[in-house]
């Protein structure tokens, strides 16, 4: 276990979440490495501070009551709505009242529906403005450039990278190499965007890395460019997939690369 790995693993160790093999490896490394030892004791100190500090936000007393009342109202609505249905034709005034309850019932159903959709299709198309995604994409790109984060499967062979995703994703991202055009596939990685696992293909041109994130999406979008913090991004959809390319390459070269990728589909 090297220092970089140790400094992530030590958190699993601190939280008693590591398996025995790793515990042994980690303890061996800590014995030998004063640097990591210091980092570990810092983390112990930090944990002690966090636990000693009063960071827990206690719920206001009245909140329990409010919830109780709200829930009672929901209960009442539920039972009244069910009895209101057969009583529809009774009297005019009752109609008016029943209408209110039905509206309440309908909005309850709508809430359930929205909630169900939210749970099944997390955020997609709903709240996720491209801006939010762009931010996530950029963050993932930058994270990927940290030591040992770039690729999970390291291969310049598209026939190795593509099958690697099988079983890790429930869709199969298109994988192509463009070494002929001066940007080579160097591997792939699983990443996490918009509350789902996504494929990240890594290309390289000269010393610059290009992350291409791919995940299924029903949306249709024409290519759009964006620049943030000195990085360039291109987003488009094609064949039911969402594509985000991000790199520190200049916009012209990134556009050219995107056209190659799109041309190859």
């Amino acid at each position: 276990m090297d220092c970089v790995e140790t400094q992530t693993m030590m958190h699993g160790y601190l939280d008693s979440e590591l398996d025995l093999v790793r515990v042994v490896e980690l303890e061996r490394h800590l014995e030998e490495c004063p640097h990591c030892q210091q980092a570990y004791s810092n983390q112990q100190a930090l944990r002690a501070m966090i636990r000693a500090a009063s960071l827990y936000h206690n719920a206001p007393d009245q909140l329990a009551n409010q919830i109780h009342v709200a829930q009672r109202q929901a209960e009442d609505q539920n039972s009244r709505v069910s009895s209101a249905v057969p009583a529809k034709r009774r009297t005019h005034r009752f109609w008016a009242r029943a209408w209110v309850f039905e509206l309440a019932g309908a909005s309850a159903c709508l809430a359930i529906l929205i909630f169900t959709v939210l749970r099944v299709v997390p955020w997609r198309g709903l709240a996720s403005s491209d801006d939010v995604i762009a931010q996530q994409v950029l963050a993932s790109h930058i994270r990927s450039l940290m030591p040992n984060h770039l690729t999970d499967v390291l291969s310049t062979d598209q026939h190795t990278v593509k099958p690697w995703f099988d079983g890790k994703l429930d869709y199969s991202p298109p994988v192509q190499d463009f070494a002929d055009h001066d940007f080579a596939l160097i591997g792939g990685r699983l990443d996490y965007l918009e509350d789902q696992s996504v494929a990240a293909l890594v290309y390289q041109r000269r010393k610059h890395f290009i992350n291409l994130f791919i995940w299924p999406s029903p949306d249709v979008a024409r290519p759009a460019n964006a620049a943030r913090k000195g990085y360039n991004m291109v987003h488009w959809t094609e064949g039911g997939m969402n594509y985000w390319a991000v790199s520190e390459l200049n916009a012209t070269e990134l556009d050219e690369i995107v056209q190659r990728i799109r041309g190859a589909r």
């Binding site: 220092c3 400094q7 699993g12 909630f115």
Partner: protein, 178 residues
């Protein structure tokens, strides 16, 4: 929604299983949306959703189940309000061999509670929630993974990044000279 429970049975079960987690629900909401009033709204909305959706709750860990709803509610709200979260970028360089010492005594003098609270508030939301669930709620990685809908490995790496970030920020506090 097959086998919907009869209303009284549902209410009783809801009271036994879900209502006791109010404290955790509020704490998470408060840390996610930053202010007390919105947090209360989030919790109320979550409880209503939880109640309506309770038939879908099948013997899963009830705390995790409720917190998934709280989290979903809060994230929807954050997205809808276009909350510009702090940049997700941590400027960490693990290769660098400089590890500053944390000096707990200095920090205590400066009011560690306030400082920690502020640093935690500054963390990007997904890192903040991992830390809150782990350190304040004492949840296991498996439970956190369930609530946040992420793989176990991601839980550890988020905690690692969040804590390293805090540690760095705390170490940069100028130390008092004697």
């Amino acid at each position: 929604m097959a086998n919907a429970l009869a209303e009284p049975a549902k209410t009783a079960l809801f009271k036994a299983e879900i209502v006791p987690h109010l404290r955790a629900a509020y704490n998470l909401a408060r840390w996610l949306v930053h202010n007390p009033d919105d947090a209360e709204d989030m919790v109320q909305e979550s409880y209503l959703r939880a109640y309506k959706y309770f038939d879908g709750f099948r013997g899963m860990n009830s705390l995790a189940w409720l917190l998934i709803i709280v989290r979903t509610t809060c994230y929807t709200w954050l997205h809808r309000n276009r909350f510009q979260e702090a940049s997700t970028v941590f400027d960490e360089d693990l290769q660098s061999r400089v590890i500053e010492m944390i000096n707990p005594e200095t920090l205590m003098l400066k009011g560690a509670d306030d400082m920690l609270r502020q640093l935690l508030e500054e963390l990007p939301v997904e890192f903040r929630e991992a830390l809150v669930l782990r350190e304040l709620e004492g949840m296991s990685y498996k439970q956190i993974a369930e609530v946040a809908g992420i793989p176990l490995g991601t839980v550890m790496s988020r905690l690692a990044q969040a804590r390293r970030h805090l540690q760095r920020r705390l170490s940069n506090v100028p130390t008092k000279e004697y």
